[in-house]
Symmetry: C2
Amino acid sequence: MGVHSVFVKDAVRIPTRRAIVDLPDRQSFPTLTDVARAAGVSTATVSRCLNTSGKVSGATRERVMRAVETLGYTPNFGARALAAKRTFTIGAIIPTMENAIFARGLQAFQETLHDKGYTLLVSSTAYRPDREAEQIRTLVARGADGLLLIGYERDPEIYDFLRSRRVPVLLAWAHQTGNPHPAVGFDNRGAMAALTRAVLAHGHTAIAVISGILRGNDRASERLAGIRGVLQENGLDPHALPVIETAYDIDNGARAFATLMQACDRPTVVMCVNDVLAAGAMQQARAMGIAVPEEVSITGFDDIELARLVTPQLTTVHVPHRQMGSLAARELVRMVETKGEGVSHELQSALRLRASLGRRG
Amino acid sequence: MGVHSVFVKDAVRIPTRRAIVDLPDRQSFPTLTDVARAAGVSTATVSRCLNTSGKVSGATRERVMRAVETLGYTPNFGARALAAKRTFTIGAIIPTMENAIFARGLQAFQETLHDKGYTLLVSSTAYRPDREAEQIRTLVARGADGLLLIGYERDPEIYDFLRSRRVPVLLAWAHQTGNPHPAVGFDNRGAMAALTRAVLAHGHTAIAVISGILRGNDRASERLAGIRGVLQENGLDPHALPVIETAYDIDNGARAFATLMQACDRPTVVMCVNDVLAAGAMQQARAMGIAVPEEVSITGFDDIELARLVTPQLTTVHVPHRQMGSLAARELVRMVETKGEGVSHELQSALRLRASLGRRG
DNA sequence: TTGTAAGCGTTATCAT
DNA sequence: ATGATAACGCTTACAA
């Protein structure tokens, strides 16, 4: 069975998991043939009217379009996919729809896609790599013309599979200079490094981190690496950094914060790998009667709306999600339509210094 | 052209908007025929292995599955859709992915769908009815086996179209007793009425409302009607109620709040039609130095995470979004598979009284 | 249990 | 500019 076993094994079972159920005769609708007959032309001509611009005389086109309208004709997607080997469908697989950062980026992604005549197919993985592999197969089997995936890190055999199926893939939410994979994103490590420098500049040295699960999540691990790198730069021991790793979720952020504050030496600042965890930390701080930023500072990452709604407002890193989604859509469509290689785009993130980060010393 | 003109007119243009682009020969993959040959059986047998449970002898099935694996066969979606007239795809059209309430419900919807072997196709309309009509056509053209739509209110010709195409449709996020359309949701009016009673019980009589755009949004208008109804019940004039109608969005909530508070008689409570608007109102209150709830109370609707993150925490109505999504998935699949009529389910919402609502008088 | 073969509704190649 | 017609890959009677 070799290396690919797990991945390939149920490649076919996914889309066929359940028996086809009897579907009481769904009435059938006008087809190309009906339109052709009504317009007194061949099906080829009708198809041309619908798909290509020139190639058909004005009079004929007129007649055909009238027939289309009268009959209420709608093209059959399956037949079209079968014949054209094209679906005008783009798949996107994201960790979750519940975090605003993906929701917002995806919204922009789908709007741009829609403008270009493509439909978006979305699924989410709950941050589970096995689920992602499964979703990728499903979307490919459904004939997605291209795929948007989040981040770089995944099993190489997934990339092999994708390459073998010749499906254009664009990565988003991350950008690593030098990595050959086409991606539209930003430098997670650099952004977090910049934030860490700001934290140090505020006089903090006792830093603790609340991180998302690192395994399979390069955005999280890059951000953590950004913090560690700056500590090292400044002669602090990156290995002494307390890090709590937990699933992205408000309650987990709260719990992690509680744990950190119960330790014997409390940190003076808690850096969270995203705003959701930071919001949880803030909530817990209030619950424990710990003043932010007087007793402890808290920082986030992403700059979702939450960041400005909590009190005090959250110091964080702003990421241009909408721009990223929209640019990714344009780039991916380009890749699909030109069969081109895909160009990476690095977007800029920006520090947002707000009241949750205070001065120390 | 008659009544249906606008709707029917470009029924065919949508999915074919752009010319088919040359797609350099995408390599071709093993087909059913290849598998059949490799396993030494007919294509029919392979198909049966993949789709039906009994009907094939153990030995044969074994051989076929081995062939499938070795070849790395994946069924062709278009061909399958064409032959079976089934896609195992469910479409959902929501106003926006950016509001957590839809994101969360949709996440649950898709998870349940996935468990049942269906794929979810999502699009969003930005609360624009014309966009919704367009998306509905697109999804139907793509062979969605069923559709999930939000709320009841839409152009009757859309319902006609859907009926004529025999596409099962389930509504969500709303439930109106007596309305024959199958829906999984809750009583928006009743829920808001309950909240309003609580507000009155806190001694408020000077109420103002920040509402979403009412046109085409029955959830919003039902909620508003809930408030008005209770005012009337209590001998207050529902027509004297100040209402600001604005798009769902934090900044709009803030602006609307500012307007209300600049009026000569300030309300003692601002009821917002959802939590997002309420969060904006809270933000603005802080910016204007208006104490909540001492000077003015604020209420929301939905109980998204935001509600507990803001200070003071938001009094709101809790809606079981995940349960709604999951139940909707089960019901819609049932409708699709049984060609059944669709059963409505009313879920219960619940008051969440928190600090943003204070006592007056 | 298995095989044969007729569609399914398009697109696209080749003629004309 | 238009028309015939052969794919496209699968499902499903109907036969054996």
